[in-house]
């Protein structure tokens, strides 16, 4: 099975905590060497799904393979070949930077650890700080240390849970350069994020809400799939207009975008007609290309409606 073209191949994956279903019916087929983005609102089940994939949680339902190994019974084999970066920094604050890297290397059974750690520290630019406690690092540096630690054993699959949360733009850019480098070496990456620009850098996007997989595909696929249309409105008294628009059934989302109002909806003729009806003198309607964020908000609202109807 390990010669499969898929790094992750799971079907019907689900997880209950007590009588609460957190993830249900997730199918994922992630080809080797790609970067996939895992998106969805907080509490949508992204972290739970990632934890099931690397053996940190036992799935309640479903089956499948990670790197050719059974997710239900071969979690040790998966752990040996997977790098998992937790959402919260989970390395040892009271060990030094060097000691953290050494510890991870030892648990992976790596060879010639001191020189390996030297190389990594040099590459990270942390050689001069290697004897500082990890607790003394800033958020961005902790993230870099964590990424270096989880990639040290040259895993075939990287699972990154919101790796860039709370990290400054420069560090985020460096991080993405690093990810690009790793995938060109053949690594497969699944990462969760709330940043749209990061989602757009991914080969494919998976969108999860309320534990269900709602959409999957490239950025263009997802926008097309949701059938969303967007307009910008410029002019005066936009606050009043926004309040009125939010009450209209044709309008999926209204948000401020600089000095303009960003309005989206799925029924284009109805939306345009409503906008023309409500816009006053001096307010201008401009055709705008829909963005991924519009698509996600539409998906979320759709999911919320389904949930209400289901209940």
């Amino acid at each position: 099975m390990s010669d499969s073209v898929f790094a992750i191949d799971v079907t019907g994956l689900g997880k209950d905590f007590g009588d609460k279903t957190v993830v249900d019916g997730v199918d994922l087929r992630l080809p080797k060497g790609q970067v996939w983005g895992f998106l969805g609102p907080n509490g949508s089940g992204k972290t739970t799904t990632i934890r099931m994939l690397c053996g940190l949680l036992q799935p309640t339902r479903g089956q499948g393979r990670c790197l050719g190994f059974d997710v239900l019974s071969q979690s040790r084999e998966i752990k040996l070949r997977t790098g998992y970066m937790t959402q919260k920094f989970s390395f040892w604050d009271d060990l030094t930077i060097r000691e953290n890297l050494q510890f991870v290397a030892r648990l992976h059974g790596l060879k010639s650890i001191p020189s390996l750690v030297d190389t990594i520290l040099e590459k990270l630019g942390l050689a001069h700080r290697q004897h500082q406690l990890a607790a003394s690092l800033s958020g961005g540096w902790k993230q870099r240390l964590a990424l270096a630690a989880v990639t040290m054993a040259k895993p075939q699959l990287l699972l990154l849970d919101e790796p860039t949360a709370g990290v400054d733009p420069q560090a985020r850019r460096d991080f993405w350069d690093e990810i690009q480098q790793l995938t060109s070496d053949g690594m497969t990456v699944l990462l969760s994020t709330h940043y749209m620009d990061e989602a757009e850098r991914c080969d494919q996007i998976v969108y999860l809400a309320n534990g269900h997989l709602l959409a999957r595909g490239s950025v263009e696929d997802i926008i097309r799939h949701t059938g969303i249309y967007t307009y910008h409105i410029q002019g005066r008294d936009l606050r009043m207009l926004a309040q009125q628009l939010r009450l209209q059934p044709e309008v999926a989302n209204v948000s401020y975008f600089g000095s303009a109002l960003h309005v989206s909806g799925t029924d284009q003729p109805a939306l345009l007609q409503r906008l023309q009806g409500l816009c006053a003198q001096g307010q201008r309607i401009i055709d705008a290309p829909p963005e991924l964020e519009d698509a996600f908000i539409a998906l979320m609202q759709q999911a919320g409606k389904d949930q209400r109807e289901y209940n």
Binding site: R51, K79, L107, H108
Partner: protein, 379 residues
């Protein structure tokens, strides 16, 4: 303004404290259970004047007078006959060393004849005086008991003997701790208490710390087997236990002049097993507790009965039967017998074998529980 106090703010904090107290089940339980536990243990289980102490009786003649002495001992409540001492052919020395009896009474052949002749025959009471508190009351009572029994017998034709106050030469041998020095008993016992306290708590904390700080998720994501984690976590604390043992033993012998009459190897075996048993228990606690605070509380729940019911502070045989049963479950009880036995009584490996077996059983059960409960996932 320093006096700008607000009752709304105070009651806000007051309410928040109560909400948090109610949510923190273990602290709440501790506030209610610990006093009840203390009441029961101090009120019912602890008795500093132990009665019914097992006594081996070696009667080399059976006469109304010797029988009267023995029944006088029984009536006093301090002594209880340990059956089968003579049948099993065990010497008083063996029985005392193994801790099977607290006393051994020997009435030699010809005792009655010599008594009637006014020859002041000898009566020998050997006492396990390693714990002065446990034996002193009974020892103090013994002469009175013998005198009273004789006075009862010296009637009618024997009333001429009444006039002699010291008709019998009561010979009491306080074995193992003849001077009744409390430190001889307490200091070796302290080794067990210190090892219990630190081994259980440190291990329990070491694991829950990973959980509390969030590093557990990382540890579980790394390809380490549960046994590897457990052994790797336990070994450093075993070494600390060994260092503690050396310090306490050094102080016991150097500062308190506690004798060391047995073999170091026997004690080493006891210490090693005892440390491992406590570490296994600590590991089990760490699978129950979610925070370091809870781990400390669980340790305290265990530590309190360990101190009170093991025979460390109060005589084990002074406790009612149910408390003794509880005490037998605790590894400290058995370790105290080993360390006191080896140091004071010169106990051999064979003498402490049942105690070692009890500690091994505890360790095995805790080890299995810990492995079964160890979290392989975050579920």
């Amino acid at each position: 303004m320093a006096w700008d106090l607000s009752t709304a703010r105070i009651s806000g904090i007051f309410q928040k404290e109560f909400i948090q107290m109610r949510r923190d089940k273990l602290t709440f339980a501790m506030m209610l259970v610990i006093p009840v536990m203390q009441l029961i243990l101090f009120g019912f289980a602890i008795n500093t004047d132990p009665k019914s102490l097992p006594t081996a009786v070696y009667l080399q003649e059976h006469t109304p007078i010797t029988r009267s002495i023995v029944s006088g001992m029984l009536q006093s409540g301090y002594f209880e006959i340990h059956q089968g001492a003579e049948q099993a052919n065990l010497s008083s020395e063996q029985l005392l060393r193994q801790g099977k009896v607290a006393f051994a009474l020997t009435i030699p052949a010809g005792f009655t004849r010599r008594l009637l002749h006014g020859d002041k025959p000898q009566l020998l009471l050997e006492a396990d005086a390693s714990d002065p508190a446990a034996s002193s009351h009974a020892v103090a009572q013994f002469s009175v008991i013998v005198e009273r029994a004789l006075r009862h017998e010296f009637r009618g034709a024997l009333s001429y003997l009444q006039a002699k106050p010291d008709a019998v030469d009561v010979h009491v041998l306080r074995n193992y701790n003849p001077e009744g020095i409390t430190q001889y008993n307490i200091v070796p016992g302290l080794l067990g208490v210190i090892l219990t306290m630190t081994s259980v708590m440190i291990t329990a904390i070491a694991m829950t710390r990973e959980l509390e700080r969030g590093t557990m998720e990382n540890l579980l994501a790394l390809p380490a087997r549960p046994v590897e984690v457990m052994v790797g976590k336990i070994l450093p604390y075993s070494l600390i236990g060994i260092v503690q043992t050396c310090v306490v033993l050094g102080a016991a012998m150097g500062i308190f002049q506690v004798p060391f009459t047995g073999a170091l190897v026997t004690l080493a075996a006891g210490v090693a097993l005892f440390i491992l048993a406590n570490l296994a228990l600590g590991f089990t606690f760490s699978t129950i507790a979610k925070t370091q605070m809870e781990a400390m509380q669980l340790t305290f729940f265990f530590f309190l009965p360990s101190i009170l019911l093991s025979g460390f502070m109060f005589p084990f045989r002074g406790m009612p039967e149910w408390a003794q049963w509880l005490g037998e479950v605790l590894p400290l009880t058995h370790f105290l017998r080993i360390v006191r036995g080896v140091m004071l009584k010169g106990s051999q490996l064979a003498d402490v074998y049942p105690e070692l077996a009890a500690i091994v059983a505890f360790m095995a059960i805790m080890g299995v529980v810990a492995m079964l409960r160890y979290r392989r996932t975050l579920d």
